[in-house]
Symmetry: C2
Subunit: 341 residues, 2 copies
């Protein structure tokens, strides 16, 4: 049976939401896997006691320390060896768990994953991606979104290769299309590093490792011409954060416009209510909780990171994601493909 | 009297919209300046003949060649010396015009402006910016948005200095706040180049050339913490094009949601109409035609570029922008401030 370690202390709504999500995952899946929930006993045990956990494949493990959102990623691992973050990853390292799931400090989780689990053979730099909605069915996946800056062409190519494998085996997309995010479509466009990356991506395409469709531009992300968009973490992080800020910005514009219509008598209260519900529903494609989180690609183990705002549903979906990633042997495939270079 | 050269052949709706916008600008301003309209006689003259231009400060100049959207920027200048683009800039160089305005091929205009007009003293690389709507009043201006990639720290600092001067003198913003677009707020975040840029921006702040507020992130753009957002053209171009693609994407989501509501009888046709009009109105802050275009900053002359889709109103506003930039002596101020280094 698979064992998944879950960080009870990670996220803005921890530990309550994490406990709920964990219980839901086990109930809904009929104990398909085992979960080790790690956190501060004084906070987590009362929450567990309030739930009916007797029939669940659930173990609790005490971890006195907590890595917070304010902890500095690079030093948190060493400073807080008794945290749920470090203990969860150590369980994976010791093969006592097959995966680790957390909605805590992303930078600290990345650093700790790298430190405790190490890299898969052949991986230069592990990476993290994010998904965007798109006009076409499916999602656009952007890699890297902030774990790596000053990327070399070889790094960007490995990001494309690793995410291709993830999409192929875990997301079931037979032939994910890779686009290189640039300022123009032509091969000779953009910074020197992207010109070199272009050539290496063509080579990886010839070897059958990826399906490269060439350069794409900012307006292609939501159109969805590419399944995988490759860029340096500076670009990806900026577009991700910019994109995440749009619903709030539009929500404000929408509210102002609607209030004017109601005030002027052009729209009644009931229509305004229906319109507001519709507007909120429009952002369902932006629902990041469907998957819950994303895995770090390239570390020698499975470490899945969720948004700080994760709800119990997000936690539950992250646990399923971990299960799926183990079963589909994503890391084994990454190691195989990268070893071919 | 000021003389403004206008490219009759630039833009998707040229020459018709350009002729209209030119006539409107002269009528509305009561001939406050003189316009030299440059283009192919066989196309422009019939349009002028259809208008009442007798009382206007308007001259027509024939240019047999046209730089199209498909022309390669780097070679267009030399290949099409008799184009309206090159002839208009040559008028500026010869001091027969004080500014040039076009809604044509942006890359070609940038290359031609640099080739014909040259750089202002002290300018390493001319740049181009774009404006974004924001929650706070005013606009967020991003520089560079694609004219320059592989930027060095010195380039980025000059972009900030030049745009600060433009905002101060032409836009009347006393103290535009400069933010450096990065993956985190802390000083030591991000790529090496941005760490160096951070220090140089602090220095420029100490010298009183700019007001530097530190690093900002993607989600700060629409919030408007900074008036001026500095980044490499790769990042700026990507965010700009991504941003421009949002209204279309949301429009599609909106249409689908609304159709469902109408089909299910939850909303009547009339309310749907009002809601649609409201939704379109929401995007007024995104109205790029209010200003019409943006100037290239750092060239030794005034060259204003508009969107290919420019309407007659956009052309008219670009002409006013040119007038304003001449009167506020923006280029003289840029040369002064950069000479201080």
């Amino acid at each position: 049976m698979l064992t998944i370690a879950v960080d009870a202390m990670g996220g803005d709504n921890a530990p309550a939401c994490v406990v709920e999500g964990t219980v839901q995952a086990l109930q809904e899946s009929s104990n398909r896997f085992e979960i080790v929930l790690i956190g501060q006993a004084e906070k987590v045990e009362p929450l567990l006691a309030a739930q009916d956990t007797a029939s669940l494949n659930l173990r609790f493990m005490h971890a006195p320390e907590v890595v917070t959102m304010d902890d500095i990623p690079a030093t948190a691992v060493k400073a807080k060896q008794d945290s749920s973050l470090v203990k969860g990853l150590q369980l994976c390292k010791a093969k006592e768990a097959h995966a680790f799931v957390s909605a805590g400090n992303t930078g600290a989780q990345m650093a700790a994953s790298l430190f405790v689990l190490g890299r898969l053979p052949g991986v230069l730099r592990p990476t993290i991606y994010a998904y965007f909605p798109r006009i076409q069915e499916g999602l656009t996946n952007i890699v890297d979104v902030g774990a790596n800056v000053d990327c070399k062409p070889e790094n960007l190519v490995q990001f494309a290769e690793m995410l291709t494998i993830y999409q192929r085996y875990a997301a079931g997309i037979d032939k994910p299309l890779v686009g290189l995010l640039n300022i123009g479509e032509e091969e000779n466009k953009g910074p020197e590093i992207l010109k070199q990356t272009y050539r290496l991506l063509q080579e990886a395409d010839r070897k059958g490792k990826i399906s490269f469709i060439g350069n794409i531009e900012g307006h292609d992300i939501l159109k969805g011409h590419a399944t995988i968009v490759v860029c340096d973490g500076l670009v990806g992080n900026t577009v991700l954060k910019f994109g995440e800020s749009i619903p709030e910005f539009l929500g404000m514009l929408f509210k102002q416009s609607l209030e004017k219509l109601v005030a002027s008598g052009q729209m009644d209260q009931n229509s305004a209510k229906i319109t507001t519900a519709m507007f909120k529903g429009m952002f369902e494609p932006f629902d990041v909780e469907r998957f819950g989180g994303v895995p770090f690609l390239g570390v020698d183990g499975i470490s899945i990171v969720g948004h700080g705002r994760s709800s119990s549903r997000a936690i539950k979906n992250m646990i399923y994601m971990a299960e799926h990633m183990i079963e589909k042997r994503v890391n084994e495939h990454i190691a195989e493909v990268l070893a071919e270079d």
